[in-house]
Amino acid sequence: MPKEMKVGCARPTGGPVGEAVSEEKTQQQTVQEEVKHMIQVGKKAPDFVAPAYHKGSFVNVQLSEYLGKWVLLCFYPGDFTFV
């Protein structure tokens, strides 16, 4: 499902999907937006894209591509630690 991507020397990054990024935002507006995005059970998970390593390939993963499946999304402090 995830699409393979071309990887150059730059480190690829992802981010939230569907959120307009404005350069003119004040810090306060940014804080308000983050509060608005806090996770609640029973509510939609915010969509995002993220580059990933999967079975020998570099791919781009979008959460919404997994609609119809159960997803266990795990964050951890860093590679080479336990999970």
């Binding site: 993220a50 390593y53 609609l67």
Partner: protein, 132 residues
Amino acid sequence: MSIDSVFVHKMWNDNELSKMVKGGVPFPMLSDGGGRVGKIFGIYDEDAGVETRGRFIIDPDGIVQGFEVLTPPVGRNVNESIRQVQAFQHVRKTKGAEATPSGWRPGKKTLKPGPDLVGNVWKKWKTEMAFD
């Protein structure tokens, strides 16, 4: 998902994890440089610049059914995550007609919420059932 780049993920998988799990990690190892995704999920530690041990169960409709967040020194209980997914799957299969009480795992008794159950849980469910 961690703040490490996909290149570091590759090194970790190919040089260490593949020695622990045959064939390496079977699922995508996501990279979140800058913690932008971690921030919207509320698990990014700004001071340390890393993501904490957040774990989210997302159902087929994209709804968050549960989450758990731990500080870095304590690891997760994988069996508990699997048990919770099984419980949510069971509830979904019964379209909410059945609920899974404390300590439920597949094969154990479920409860059918409704007027008849009010005040009568003690007849159907015993405290020992909360434990394995």
